[in-house]
């Protein structure tokens, strides 16, 4: 069953006077429970694709279906609500809220979603990512690998249908990178989480079920 399907997906920007086609007709689908790596050279359209399927941006044209829903027709508020309930994000630069502790960072999306028992669940998630002993540390008191694990715990807060990760190991050393990917693998296998991960690293990409290559705004068939 398809988790993500795109049809003739296009995205153009006008950073100056010349139009840049970031995506130029992408047709693809990703199944429920798949762990997919998106790879390709810089400027190939990987992050643009992730932003579009993550509903952070709107396409110039084309279709995006998430779990059967046409998300291109949703307004800004509906998209925000959908992201909150069904999509988890992990970014390259950890991007935690600096003024909140680890447990508060994980609680935050659940509070936003008006969930009850958020503190207990936040602790559970931090235990899951191996940070049960760092609950009340601020991001500045955690290592890069630990911060990224807090980000992953936060992305799981509302039990999303899919996790989107944009170069999640880009700022980590090899050991931490492998730990993060192993964590993704564990979530994928044990919780059936659909994971779409952009990476530059062939080693990291190789740990996914499938790799989709982007070049010049289209999917490259290797």
């Amino acid at each position: 069953m398809e988790m993500i399907r795109t049809g003739n997906l296009k995205k153009s920007y006008m950073p100056g006077k010349v139009e840049v086609k970031a995506l130029n007709g992408v047709d693809t689908s990703i199944e429920h429970g798949e762990f997919v790596a998106i790879m390709g050279p810089s400027g190939g359209g990987k992050s643009t694709f992730l932003n579009l399927v993550g509903m952070l941006d709107t396409p110039t044209s084309g279709e995006i279906y998430i779990d059967g829903s046409d998300v291109t027709k949703m307004n800004s508020n509906t998209r925000a609500e959908y992201r909150l309930k069904h999509i988890g994000f992990v970014f390259q630069f950890f991007n935690l809220f600096n003024e909140l502790t680890a447990v508060e960072n994980v609680m935050f999306p659940m509070m936003l979603n008006k969930q009850s028992g958020y503190k207990y669940r936040a602790k559970e998630l931090l235990n899951l990512v191996g940070l049960g002993d760092r609950l009340h540390h601020l991001p500045s008191e955690l290592s890069g690998g630990q911060q990224q694990r807090v980000t992953i715990a936060r992305s799981l807060a509302n039990d999303p249908k899919m996790l989107l990760a944009d170069e999640p190991t880009g700022n980590l050393d090899t050991k931490s990178s492998i730990e993060i990917i192993e964590l993704f693998r564990k979530l994928n296998q044990e919780r059936g989480q659909t994971i779409v991960m952009v990476t530059h690293s062939p080693e990291i990409g190789g740990m996914a079920d499938r790799i989709i290559h982007f070049r010049d705004g289209i999917i490259e068939n290797l």
Partner: protein, 390 residues
């Protein structure tokens, strides 16, 4: 509820306490703005109240009866006094006679306003005779004594116990003993007034128990407007003025002064508003990526707007609460340690509860308004630009 206020409050609270120096800076500016409004308005209101009270206490009753048009004196004084004494709301009354004359001390002399009164009735009606700064007050039978206003005494080099010759407007003159020096705070009065007993003045001026005005003290000065028609009807008089009419010039001065103090308060408020607005704007700019992340994980525009507006509310609540306290204690301190003032002797602010309400409301609204624009900018931020700066 469209926005989860609890969640917005949670983040706002964490955010404003993160940087203690910025928190202290913003809070201090709000504290000073609030306290400034309380002290300045307390001072203005206190000064106006002192001026009005002083005027009523020394030169006006709550109601004043004047002679009919084209008459110099009030006719039938005895009957009118009897009728006044029978009225329930009239606590006291004091007939006064005004005349002119020349007071001389050796080679020095000055034109004076003669104010003749019945000391016993005057004491029950006004506090004029309490304002003697040196010597003693008059008695009704002090036929050879006068009180002299302090500037007149200075001009004529008179002191208590000295003798001075008073020439009346009818040409008669008599030597009086200066029994006391009086200072009311009213410039006109203090510069050239001689006070003497009413009986003595009537006798010297050959008047038949006359008065130029009757001051009436009511049980409550706020009854003046309502009671004026009663007085007019019962006494059969047509020319009656309330204390408000008598102090109209003071009230218009007060109005002008209040406008001036409003400008001073507004300057403080604008300074606080600019501080809050700029700090929240800078905070929004510094937090661009975090705002992007917040939106990426599902926060709606109005939630982000609420977070930053809530920060202003928190700054406002904390700053205004402390500012109210600072303002209250500053006013209380100045009440106990008034400024010296040449006319009234001293000038001090007065504390009224409405000063707290007004200052709190105006400062809160200003601080919240100052945060609207940066909060709006935060709410409208584009996610992609906010996270990646593209």
């Amino acid at each position: 509820m469209p926005v989860d206020l609890r969640c917005a409050l949670f983040y706002s609270r964490k955010d404003i306490f993160k940087n203690k120096k910025i928190f202290a800076f913003i809070t201090l500016s709000i504290i000073f703005a609030t306290a400034n409004i309380i002290v300045i308005n307390g001072l203005t209101d206190g000064m106006i109240k002192d001026l009005v009270d002083n005027t009523i206490e020394s030169s006006s009753g709550h109601l004043n009866i004047y002679p009919a048009d084209n008459e110099r004196f009030i006719e039938g004084l005895g009957v009118k006094e009897q009728r006044l004494a029978a009225l329930e709301e009239v606590e006291a009354y004091s007939p006064r006679l005004s005349a002119s004359g020349v007071l001389s001390n050796k080679e020095l002399s000055a034109s004076v306003a003669i104010l003749a009164l019945d000391p016993d009735k005057e004491r029950r009606t006004t506090k004029l005779l309490d304002k003697i700064t040196k010597g003693m007050a008059l008695n009704s039978n002090d036929n050879n004594a006068i009180l002299v206003s302090y500037r007149l005494a200075e001009d004529l080099k008179l002191d208590v116990g000295d003798e001075a010759e008073l020439a009346f407007e009818n040409g008669k003159s008599k030597v009086y003993n200066v029994k006391g020096i009086i200072r009311t705070g009213a410039a006109d009065f203090d510069s050239s007034t001689v006070i003497m007993p009413l009986n003595e003045a009537n006798q010297q001026l050959a008047f038949d128990n006359s008065a130029s005005v009757i001051l009436i003290k009511l049980s409550d000065k706020e009854l003046a407007d309502a009671y004026m028609p009663v007085i007019m009807q019962v006494l059969g008089v047509s020319n009656v003025k309330t204390w408000k009419e008598e102090t109209e010039y003071l009230l218009s001065f007060a109005e002008a002064w209040q406008s001036f103090s409003s400008i001073i308060s507004a300057v403080g408020l604008v300074a606080a508003a600019i501080s809050v607005g700029i700090i929240i704007y800078i905070n929004v700019i510094h937090k661009t990526r975090q705002i992007g992340i917040m939106k990426a994980i599902g926060a709606k525009d109005d939630f982000i707007f609420t977070v930053f507006l809530m920060e202003a509310v928190l700054f406002g609540v904390i700053g205004v609460s402390i500012g109210d306290g600072v303002g209250y204690f500053a006013v209380k301190y100045l009440e106990a340690h008034p400024f010296p003032e040449p006319m009234l002797g001293s000038m001090a602010p007065r504390f009224y509860m409405y000063l707290l309400y007004d200052a709190s409301l105006v400062t809160m609204l200003t601080v919240i308004l100052a945060a609207v624009y940066p909060a709006f900018i935060a709410g409208r931020m584009n996610i992609i630009k906010a996270i990646w700066g593209d």
